[in-house]
C-alpha cells in the first residue's frame, strides 16, 4: 500500500497552461505539505495544511494554489505555468508535531516547454 501517492508522476506541458497535481495519504495523518525541489536540488517548503487549514504559506507566487478537500488530500493547482516552474514537486504528510517525521510521495516531475 502506497502511503503518500502523487499523480501524475510526470507532467509535460507548455508555458501559460494551468495544471494540477494531486496528493493523497492513507496514513491517517493530520498535516500535509508541498515541497519544490529545484534544479539545484534544494527541497523547499511551499505550503502546509493541518486538518484542512492552511498553516504554512511560504513566499510562493499567487499562481500556485493548494486545496485540501479533506485531511487525506492536498492538491496543488498552478495557473499560467512559467519556465521557472519546472521542478520536482513532493507531497508529504505527518501526524502533527515538529518531531514527527514527514512521509514523502515519490514526486511529480513538471517540465515546461
Amino acid at each position: 500500500d502506497t502511503a503518500v501517492s502523487q499523480t501524475p508522476k510526470y507532467l509535460v506541458t507548455q508555458m501559460g497552461n494551468d495544471k494540477s497535481i494531486k496528493c493523497e495519504q492513507n496514513l491517517g495523518h493530520d498535516t500535509m505539505y508541498w515541497y519544490k525541489q529545484d534544479s539545484k536540488k534544494f527541497l523547499k517548503i511551499m505550503f502546509s495544511y493541518n486538518n484542512k487549514e492552511l498553516i504554512i504559506n511560504e513566499t510562493v507566487p499567487n499562481r500556485f494554489s493548494p486545496k485540501s478537500p479533506d485531511k487525506a488530500h492536498l492538491n496543488l493547482h498552478i495557473n499560467s505555468l512559467e519556465l521557472g516552474d519546472s521542478a520536482v514537486y513532493f507531497c508529504a504528510s505527518s501526524q502533527g508535531g515538529f518531531n514527527q517525521p514527514q512521509h514523502f510521495g515519490d514526486g511529480t516531475r513538471l517540465s515546461i516547454l
Partner: protein, 115 residues
C-alpha cells in the same frame, strides 16, 4: 540565504567502512534535526533524528552527532553497505513557535558505497 548546508556534494566509500556525512546550519533557533535518504525517482524517507538537548542518537548502523556550539551535525553509517548508496538530506526545524513542522533542507550529499 541557505540556512542548512551540506558542503560535500558527493562521498565515495568502500563497503564495510564508515561513511560520514556532514551538515552545517546557521539559524540558532533550529532545535530539531533530521536525516532523510532518497533513492532516484523516489521521495525522501526518514532515517534518524536528534533533538538539541542531545549530542548523539543511535539507531542500528546509523548515528547522528550534534555539536550545537559549532552548529554542525554529522551522520555516521557503520558499516557502510552498497544499499546505502543514495542521496542524504539533512533537515532542521524549530520545536515551537509557528514552525508547524516546517523543515529546512540542505542540498543533499550523494553517497556511493562500492562493493
Amino acid at each position: 540565504d541557505q540556512q542548512v548546508k551540506q558542503n560535500s556534494p558527493s562521498l565515495s566509500v568502500q563497503e564495510g567502512r564508515i561513511s560520514i556525512l556532514n551538515c552545517d546550519y546557521t539559524n540558532s533557533m533550529f532545535d530539531y534535526f533530521l536525516w532523510y535518504k532518497k533513492y532516484p525517482a523516489e521521495g525522501p524517507t526518514f532515517l534518524i533524528s536528534i533533538s538539541s538537548i542531545k549530542d548523539k542518537n543511535e539507531d542500528g548502523r546509523f548515528t547522528v552527532f550534534l555539536n550545537k556550539s559549532a552548529k554542525h551535525l554529522s551522520l555516521h553509517i557503520v558499516p557502510s553497505q552498497p544499499g546505502d548508496s543514495a542521496v542524504y538530506f539533512c533537515a532542521a526545524t524549530r520545536a515551537g513557535g509557528t514552525s508547524y513542522g516546517k523543515l529546512t533542507f540542505g542540498q543533499g550529499t550523494i553517497l556511493t558505497v562500492h562493493p
